[in-house]
């Protein structure tokens, strides 16, 4: 039985696809057979972030509709050999993702994979609901900013009422908070919500804090999951998050700002 993890947020542009790419790569790097599914029908982007956009032949909807087999549609990652990508369809209607169709594919993947990571589209419409429906766990990606936090709370409500686990009266979906684009310097200046502020409002366990970093854009430019930038703060923060997801106890890092001397503050700007 595979563990099914949805990466979701409600709000767009907070780092769901970046997170899906890094978390799935991290799990696979540790030897777990992992598949990452793009649920964003019509706006597929996971392929680009994972650098396999030119290898897409068949997609998720093709498999649901029986036009291709799973093996034909799965793309094997070139860097980590236990990692596979199932791209979203770029041309179909969102409604092509039926509950039954998604279930069939998840069940089939469940037989051979250890982890199924579902990259949710933004919003709370059909695609987002399908991405979270079968989840055992949810990584709620949140920016320290008012609209993102509010939308995350909304998504938590949906996980608690509209997921399969909720509908069947099973144990609830396990929720994890991943705070991304965190800027400790701005937090210290009182310009940005702190980790503890967001934890207090959303009241779910913290999986990790990813610092705002130029490395993230540089990595996505090249189609490299940022977790593979092992020297970078963001890469290491994702590495820690994967370790925690697997039950390891790791202290949180990158949550305090660069200490600046009095002189550099005065002359170079805070």
């Amino acid at each position: 039985m595979a563990r099914i993890i949805v990466v979701t947020s409600g709000k767009g542009g907070v780092g769901k696809t970046t997170t899906s790419a890094s978390i799935s790569t991290g799990l696979a790097k540790r030897g777990h057979k992992t598949v990452v599914i793009d649920f964003d029908v019509g706006l597929r982007n996971l392929d680009l972030i994972m650098n396999c956009e030119r290898r897409v032949v068949y997609d998720f909807v093709n498999v649901i509709q029986g036009e291709a087999s799973l093996n034909q549609a799965l793309i094997k990652d070139k860097r980590v050999d236990t990692l596979f990508i199932l791209p979203a369809s770029q041309t179909r209607e969102k409604e092509a993702l039926t509950k039954e169709g998604v279930e069939k594919i998840i069940n089939e993947l469940s037989e051979t994979f250890d982890y199924i990571v579902c990259d949710s589209p933004a919003g709370i419409e059909h695609g987002a609901l399908m991405a979270l429906y079968y989840a055992d766990e949810a990584i709620v990606v949140t920016n320290p900013e008012v609209s993102s936090v509010r939308d995350s709370d909304r998504i938590l409500g949906i996980l608690q009422s509209k997921s399969r686990r909720a509908e069947m009266g099973q144990d609830p979906v396990k929720e994890h908070l991943l705070l991304t684009r965190y800027n400790p310097d701005r937090v210290e200046r009182g310009e940005m919500l702190s980790v503890s502020d967001v934890e207090e409002i959303l009241a779910i366990p913290l999986l990790g804090v990813i610092p705002e970093s130029q490395v993230v854009l540089n990595a996505s430019n090249q189609g490299l999951p940022v977790i593979l930038e092992g020297q970078s703060d963001a890469g290491q923060a994702y590495e820690d998050a994967v370790a925690r997801l697997l039950g390891e106890d790791r202290e949180h890092r990158f949550m305090t700002g660069q200490k600046k001397s009095f002189f550099s503050r005065m002359f170079k700007g805070g």
Partner: protein, 83 residues
């Protein structure tokens, strides 16, 4: 921050404003989330019944659902217009 800004009084802490606003809106939205689906419809129909007898505006009626462990209470407050 430049040389002069450094001596200016402390800027307002916008993060704490954000936190306060979020706490209020999130608590409000969570309260609504737990309400039964039929509540808006019930609210509308009750309002229509009351209007058969007294002329009241929407804001003169308040609906509140209080949840306890074993039961819920629907509280309906109607402010009647002065004669």
């Amino acid at each position: 921050m430049n040389f002069l800004d450094y001596f200016k009084s402390k800027k307002t802490n916008t993060a704490s404003v954000a936190k306060e606003r979020l706490q209020i809106i999130v608590a409000h939205e969570r309260g609504q989330r737990d309400q039964p689906d039929y509540l808006p419809q019930l609210q509308q129909e009750l309002l229509e019944v009351i209007r058969k007898y007294v002329q009241i505006s929407d804001d003169m009626v308040q609906f509140e659902v209080d949840r306890n462990d074993s039961f819920s209470v629907l509280e309906l407050n109607v402010t009647l217009p002065e004669k």
